[in-house]
Amino acid sequence: MDKLGVTLSGWDLENPIIAASGTFGYGYEFASWYDINILGSISLKGTTREPRFGNPTPRIAECCGGMLNAIGLQSPGVESVISEEIPKLRSVFKKKVIANVAGFSVAEYVQVAALFDAVEEVALLEINVSCPNVESDGRVFGSTPESVALVCREIKKVVKKPVYMKLSPNVANITEIAQAAESAGADGLVLINTLLGMAVDPATGKPIVSTKVAGFSGPAIKPIALRVIYQVYPNVRIPIIGVGGITCADDVIEFISVGATAVQVGSQNLRDPCVGRDIINELPQKMDEYGIETLGGIVGRSHR
């Protein structure tokens, strides 16, 4: 195994650095900042079946060590992502990508996943279960082991590509949900999506983001992401992609140490568009400094 290379369900990545969904557009927006082919891969913006505008603005607020967002899954719809966005990305990015699948019903998840499954450029399906189930009680799919398992099982019935469930940390027992996903046939996990947070204007007492509560991300959530991966890792056999607050090579090594096989860099792309490239350049030096020969060799070492 080479120094930076990692494998996710049979898919070989040159390095473990993946751009996180929703923070990297459709990838080509970053081609003017640097040659994005250096990245391990890119996870595309969450995609729904139909075109959606998403939430009203303001959708963004700042907080200490991070940010809040309530984009509300703005999407041109899966057909347009496949016919327009992926070809545009293909002209500047030669590697395979991760399709991030969203849905407001089990049927929608299955349809979007099936359409992406047929796309050559897509290596892996990442299922974002932080969406409300509008056909049931309106709670997010990710909130119970049963609904996560249901979405996973139904998708697995119709697709051939590996299915990774991206879990919400806004639950009492995430290990239980991770295990339910594994039992339902998930090929891997992506940990974690944003936390629920809030920002308020002190002058008026009014929430800043239109949806009042919003997804909290950035360096401030890193300890929580590390803790979640640390807790889930010994209880599942499937690989974990770690995400949450990563900004530098040390963070990557920490995430892999607690049990991640690969990582995603999210919010930091918005602040420092070249952060993905910078981490990849910094990583070999940090590994040498700590006497790490291969990243594959340190997965889960915090548990040993």
Partner: protein, 250 residues
């Protein structure tokens, strides 16, 4: 062309109450256009702060900003010689070609005025004739009246009547004749200018996560059912594509 670079602060001086003029020296090879903005990293703040380019030359650019919160307050305390990490070349900028041969008016409100100055300089260089209508809430926040007067006939209004006419920019627009406008300022002012009718271009603000099209934080619905990312497909929209009532339509 988008570029990330470090710029040295050459000056950072007050122009009016809570209003600062900052000159940044550094690479100007990003092909700046009037109406574009930069996104500035400020120590201690996670998100960058978007500020319009006021004017530029071969080796520097000027920005004018108002202390609107903690980030711009920190910016106002920085000294010449300090360096800033800046994303440049953001946004579409004004399209001058659409105004060719027209009687043009530039309509600015508060810190929406700075990008119109760079636009005015470009219009003058192109030999265009135009008038500026500049408005502020209070007279002690007014700036650049002399600079505008040097390039075009300039009319001033303030809500408090301390300088120029007492009133709002549309009071003046009703008095003068024009058939194309460029406007930037607070949303209610943009809407008032738009509601007077005619064709033009409007520069919008939005809360931004990135400033370069990656997060969809700044999306705004446009006429005909679509939407645009204000940071990338804006901040300037044509009057025939804008939609003001969309927030209420949600």
């Amino acid at each position: 062309m988008k570029k990330q670079a470090f710029y040295e602060i050459k000056r950072n001086q007050p122009l009016a109450r809570d209003i600062f003029l900052m000159t940044l020296v550094g690479p100007m090879n990003f092909e700046p256009r009037p109406g574009q903005f930069i996104n500035i990293k400020i120590d201690g703040f996670y998100l960058r702060r978007p500020i319009s380019i006021c004017s530029f030359d071969e080796d520097s650019m000027d920005i004018i900003y108002k202390i609107a919160g903690n980030g711009t307050d920190a910016l106002s305390k920085m000294s010449p010689g300090q360096k800033l990490d800046v994303l440049c070349g953001l946004g579409n900028g004004f399209d001058l070609s659409l105004a060719e041969g027209r009687r043009i008016v530039l309509v600015g409100g508060g810190v929406g005025i700075p990008p119109l100055y760079g636009l005015g300089k470009a219009l003058k260089a192109a030999g265009a004739e135009f008038t500026a209508v500049l408005g502020w809430q209070t007279h002690d926040q007014a700036f650049f009246i002399d600079e505008f007067s040097a390039i075009c006939p300039t009319r001033v209004v303030t809500n408090d009547g301390g300088i120029g006419k007492k009133g709002v920019v549309t009071d003046i627009l009703r008095e003068i004749s024009y058939d194309y406008y460029f406007t930037c300022g607070p949303e209610p002012m943009l809407k008032a200018v738009y509601d007077l009718g005619g064709n033009g271009q409007l520069s919008f603000e939005a809360r931004m996560g990135c400033g370069f099209g990656a997060c969809m934080g700044c999306s705004r619905k446009t006429l005909g059912g679509g939407s645009k990312r204000i940071c990338m497909q804006g901040p300037v929209l044509r009057s025939d594509e804008v939609l003001f009532s969309w927030i209420n339509l949600e």
